[in-house]
Structure formats: structure tokens, C-alpha cells
Point group: C2
Chain length 304, copies 2
Amino acid sequence: MNYADRLQQAIDQRGNACLVGLDPILDLLPPEFAAARDVTRTRAERARALGDFCCEVIDVVAGRIPAVKPQSAFFEALGSDGVRQFERIVATARNAGLLVIADVKRGDIASTAEAYAHAFLGGVPGVHADELADAVTLSPYLGSDSIGPFLEICKRTGRGCYVLVRTSNKGSADFQRHGSPELSFQVADAVVKWGAELVGESGLSSVGAVVGATHGAELASFRERMPRTPFLLPGYGAQGAGAKDVVGAFLPTSGAPRGALVNSSRGILFAYREPRFAGKSWKDATRGALDAMIQDLGAALGAR
Amino acid sequence: MNYADRLQQAIDQRGNACLVGLDPILDLLPPEFAAARDVTRTRAERARALGDFCCEVIDVVAGRIPAVKPQSAFFEALGSDGVRQFERIVATARNAGLLVIADVKRGDIASTAEAYAHAFLGGVPGVHADELADAVTLSPYLGSDSIGPFLEICKRTGRGCYVLVRTSNKGSADFQRHGSPELSFQVADAVVKWGAELVGESGLSSVGAVVGATHGAELASFRERMPRTPFLLPGYGAQGAGAKDVVGAFLPTSGAPRGALVNSSRGILFAYREPRFAGKSWKDATRGALDAMIQDLGAALGAR
């Protein structure tokens, strides 16, 4: 089954389109995991604490949401020890029934792009199949031939990718809005073309687009340009976007949400730091924040 | 001493501006390292063979050229075991007196970009200082706030970065030439701005630009736009560009080359496969190909 169909199945099963970003920022980790930022520990010990935290988060969210999105950078910051933990949490999340989107934003040419595709999505025999992701995020700056090797492997292995179209940060306007039509529209058109051969039974493609939830008013025009593209919407919560901002990214449906995942990272992982969860354990705070997000998003979609 | 000055010092010492890309493509490795592609071996054994090959290449090129550029993708394809070997070859190259440019083409926002900067350039206490690179390649799609954290760390630690401006591949035209003026010119102007506070005693900045050697005629216009920017020029050799194509990227000087590094990867690492080196060991072939590159580049620069 291709990625788009597996994704829609997971959304149908859970009844929501919430994506939890596993961004274990050292300075924000609960005190139980302070070993991760203790420079007197070995790097391997620090990395293990990072992995332990993410595994416990996975335990809290599994069964409630369709997918998680681990952010590679926070693991790479602890070198190969960190990468070993990234592999561990990918495997842990998949074994817990979650789809895994590896947030790596890679982009390189030809044989190099192929090596990255092998690294995260597989397609070569004998190499760490348990630790491969279901989908990966990609940066389009190098053009079509940097995306091609990923499309090949997605086709062969039933996996997916999300191409950065319009990111959630303020600086996204610097280059993504360059030209007329703006660059992000040109990338959007390319995403549609790349994804044409990967449309599944759900009517959606396995080639998705990253579009910041922070660009509320523009979301509808991106949706119009990319009618069969699954969206990954960062920027919810800590970055400022709310449930009403993302409604325009979803496809019309009478049942479960369709066509987008809404990501929150810090707002879920580090909810224990918010006054509204004062006195609660970090796990209860995370659970509470996720419940609130599921409810808010469901209400906003229901009110369409 | 800042990165630009250390780089120019290394170029002065070696008398050339050749950069060897460490791209250990599994299928092209000499038979001595066939373990790297043997799927009956463990992943750690395969990764070690990859690392062994690169360490032997480093042994051949050390003392002859200013810098090497390991390509992270080929190591990541073997998971955390591969990343461990990436760390090993970074340390080996630095200990052999080579500058190391980690070719990782990362690009992400805010705290995530900072984590990547920590991963490759350091700036946090207690974490794998031996295995940090001198400079890193970056993708600009996410805008200024994705570059900022790297500039901070370059300033604090005397390290450098090279931002993708116009890559060597055919698909580079897809988005990099979008708009008028084309996007790559806008990125070039941003590179100048980002690098203004990192200009060293050499008159060059520690913020460099990746400009494909395959765009011969345009190199001079990029050089005009970025007069204090060190260029990293991929595309030499296997990708089709020759010594005459890259001359326009260098700054005028009567001594050692100034202002650019010319990269060759496959043409050096896998020279043993070329008919002209038939009957030679892979090391002799690699040594011969590097000597030829140094000579060709020197002659073309001397004839200016």
C-alpha cells in the first residue's frame, strides 16, 4: 500500500490529523531527563536520556494520533550516539503503530540524493530496515534531479516524502516569495508534477508539501494549486497558528480529516512548562495538551 | 584565526586550491573495500570498510592539498554506524593537517538550525570537539533565519560555511534561475550581507558560496557580485568542467590561488577505473589523478 493510503487509513483510525513533532530541545527537557544536558556525562549517556524522553512521549501519544515527526537535528547534535537514538525512536514509534515522518530536510544531487533516500527510506538490501521512516522531508533548492531518486524509492517501497514549499518561519519570505509568480508557487506546481505517478486509492499522492500553518490566508491558494497533495503544516501552537488557521488546508469530507497533518512540537512535548499545567507531571501535561489540540482541531474542522 | 584566513594560509602552504570530495560511493570502491557493499556483513563492518577507504585516501592527499570535503550522505546511508565513520574521517583528516568542509547541505529554522550548527561546528561545551568540521555547506531555501545560527557559531569558533548559490547539476536551473533577477543572484547578495561581519585579515569572508564549475560563463558575474566570498566549485572532472572553466572564479593575485576551492570527488577517488591508469593500484591512480588536477589548475591560473 502506498504512503498516502497508509496515512489516510491511520487518520481514519485515530479520527484526527494531529502530528507530534519529536524535537527534544535539551534546555526544555523535563528534569527527569537532565542527564541529556549534563556535560559531565558521556555523549552516549546524554543521547540515551534524549532517546528515553522521546520513547516516553511515544508511549503517551501512541494510539491517539496517526503519526510522529522526529527532528533529526537534535539527535545529530549528539553525533553518532544521537543518530543511534534517532534510529531507536523511529523503530519504537513504528512498533507502537505510528507512522514516522523523518524531518531531515535533505536535498542533494544524483547519487548523493540516492544515498540519502537509502538512509531514511531504504530500498537497498541488508541495511537497517527496522529503523526506516515512512516518509521524509525534502528541500527543493537543487531542483528536480534532487527529488527524483526519492520518488523512485517511494514508488518501490510504498514510502512518501514532503517537499518544503512555504515554511512556517518569518525568513521564509526571503527566497520562497522571490519572483512572480513567487518561487513557492513554482515549487508547488513541481510537487504536483512529481506526485502525479504516486497517487493512491485515496486520491492523494505520496508526494506531500510542507506549508506553514502560520500563513493562514495563503493556505487556501496552496490547496487550490495542489489538490491531491497531502500537506504537512508546521507552526501550530508555539509558533502562533491556531486550529482556525489550518482549516483551509484540509479537503472537504464528511468523515475523518483528509489531506493534511497539523504538527505541534514544543506545545506538546514541553507543555509541563505552561502555567495551565502547573502541578501536573510532564506526561499528564503532554497528554492534556494533546487532548486539547485534538479537540480544538476537531471543533474547527467540524464547524466548516 | 577565522576560517577564511586559515583557508588562505592552507592554500598558500600547499600552493594549490584543490579540494578532494570524500564521496565513498559503494559500487565504485576498489575491490579491497568490497566489504562495504557486502550485504552479508553487519552494518558496522560495512561502515568500517567505507571509513578505511576514506582514511587511506586522506593518507594519499594529506600534505598536498589544503582541504577535503566528506559527503555526509554516503555515511548516513549506513545509519549511525556510518555516521560514526564520518566522525572518524573528520578527525583523521584534521589530524593530518587538512581543513575539513562537511558537505551536509543542512537548512532548517531557529533552534533546529542551531542544533545542526552544534552538530557540525560545535559551540557547546563537552560535545565531540575532535570530530567537528572547519566549515559546513548550507541550503538557503528557508531564508536568513536558517543561516543566522551558523553565523553566530562561526563568529564564536572561527569556523566557516558555504551557502548553496548555484549548484553544478542540470536541475539547478529549475528554481535557482527563477525570477528576475534570478534567485541565485538574490541568494548571492544575501551571502555578501551575511558574510560582512566575518571578513578576515585575508580580505575574504568566512561565509562562502557554492557555485558549480559547470556554469563557466556565469562564474565571472557571480564573482563580481561576491567580491570577498570564498567560492567552493563542484563539478570539476567527472561532472564535466575543466581547469579553464574555473579560472574566472579566482581573485587576481601574483602568488598562490586566492578566493576559491575546486572540488573533484569521483575523478580522484575512483581514478583507478579510468583507462589511463590501467594496471596501477587504486592509490597510485588517485595520486596520479590528483597530481594532474593540481598541474592543470596551476597551468590555467598561471596563464591568466
